[in-house]
């Protein structure tokens, strides 16, 4: 039994960035590297394992970028097709999930273009927000959460594509600025500027709600 050994693919760590979640894509396990090799050689079982390994991450990102489940499913399917198609070009010295994120953003951009042609919008919370469990006793609390989600969804929908991608990768996927810059093929300075702009827009959009609720400041 070979023990699970992680490979440090990229050293993106910045001194000030101490908040990295568990799912950072900078580490590629050796077992995943073997799966990638087998899948690149045409092993469909190995590729199925890769999909199982990354499907939640891909679906989460596609849904956040596109805002509805149907487009998210189509995008995830296209992402995995592209992953299989270009798996031979993937270099083992780069983080696999960063590469998958790159493909995901490209696919979401393509689908968003098509969606603009058909003038579809982000789905509202009544349609898309089905994760609120029915057994919650406090109906008012549920309603507040639903309003908040709809608010933030609309706020994100107003963001330009690159700002949206940057803030989602940084604040929700938990990647560092350098990793986001690598994924978006940009510079950390540009990404930092995009993130700052996105946060300002969200704050302005949600400002009235935040003032009305008179939320208590959070400890930094």
């Amino acid at each position: 039994m070979i023990p699970e050994v992680t490979i440090e693919a990229h050293d993106f760590t910045v001194a000030s960035e101490k908040r990295l979640p568990e799912n950072v894509p900078t580490q590629v396990s050796r077992s995943l590297a073997r799966l990638i090799d087998r899948a690149a050689a045409g092993d469909m079982v190995a590729f199925d394992e890769i999909m199982k390994h990354s499907e939640q991450r891909v679906m989460r990102m596609t849904w956040r970028m596109l805002g509805n489940e149907a487009d998210a499913r189509d995008a995830a399917q296209e992402v995995f097709l592209r992953v299989y198609k270009y798996l031979g070009r993937f270099r083992q010295d780069q983080p696999f999930f960063a590469w998958v994120y790159q493909i995901t953003l490209n696919v979401c951009r393509d689908i968003a273009k098509k969606r603009r042609q058909y003038d579809t919008q982000f789905t509202s919370l009544e349609n898309g927000g089905n994760d609120v469990s029915d057994d919650q006793a406090d109906a008012e609390k549920t309603l507040i959460r639903q309003q908040e989600r709809e608010l933030i969804m609309k706020a994100i929908a107003t963001l330009p594509e690159r700002e949206r991608a940057a803030i989602l990768l940084r604040d929700l996927e938990g990647l560092s600025t350098d990793e986001v810059a690598h994924i978006m093929r940009s510079t950390p300075t540009t990404v930092r500027s995009q993130i700052s702009s996105a946060r300002q827009k969200i704050r302005v959009y949600c400002g009235r709600y935040l003032k009305r609720e008179e939320r208590r400041p959070h400890e930094l």
């Binding site: 101490k18 999909m51 939640q56 679906m59 299989y84 989600r149 608010l151 929700l172 969200i202 935040l210």
Partner: protein
Amino acid sequence: MNCKNVEPLLSLYVGRDLEEEQSRLVAAHLRSCSECTLAADEYAGASQLLQGYEPPFFSDEIYAGIRGQVLNEIKREFRAPVRPGIFSQVFLALVQPRMRWITAVVLLAISVTALYLSRNPSHQLPNQEQVTVRTGEPTRGGGGADVRSGNSNESASSSLLSHKAQDHVSSRRLPTTARRKANAGLAANNRSQHLHNTKVDAATSESVVQRHVDVSQPSTAPVPLRVEMQTSNQNIRIIWLSTQRPRAGARDGSKGI
């Protein structure tokens, strides 16, 4: 730092995207500025709202369906292609970007060659009329002429006979047996002449004219004329080409040359 300097950094400060030194300066300003503190609180509230932007729950059936569709699509799209035939392979190879220039050059060369050949019929020699003239070794010194003078007419006549006979044989395309007989007669005649000239060291001047005429073509056709003359030196051969036919009086070939 004042409010003007801090304000652009607040969003990055809340998201912990600042360097340690900048973060320390902003924190120091916030302790003394309520307005910037309020703005920082709004950023923090927006960040907390953003954390609630979670996708709905996707069941295992949804993921299994996506995987199944992907695998089916891969089997359909990335199936091993049928090997094309040899002509298809050649055609595909020729139209490839790397081979386009070579193909164009080859086609251009073929076209130019065909055009050149079509405009220069002299290069086509299927119906060429060929006259071959062989000259013997010249008489060595003037003495030879004196010794031979007695038989000069006979020699000349035999030479003319030889020329006419061969011309006749060649031009009429006699059967092989008849041609052999005619050549045998000529050989006997030459042999007797050779016996007459035993005192002559070198062979007398001899002119043999051969004309090869393709009788399948009318003689009036403006076919090119080719005359070859073999000199006494075996290494020198004179070839004369003409697109015009010799004059009517020189049809035997000897006078036209």
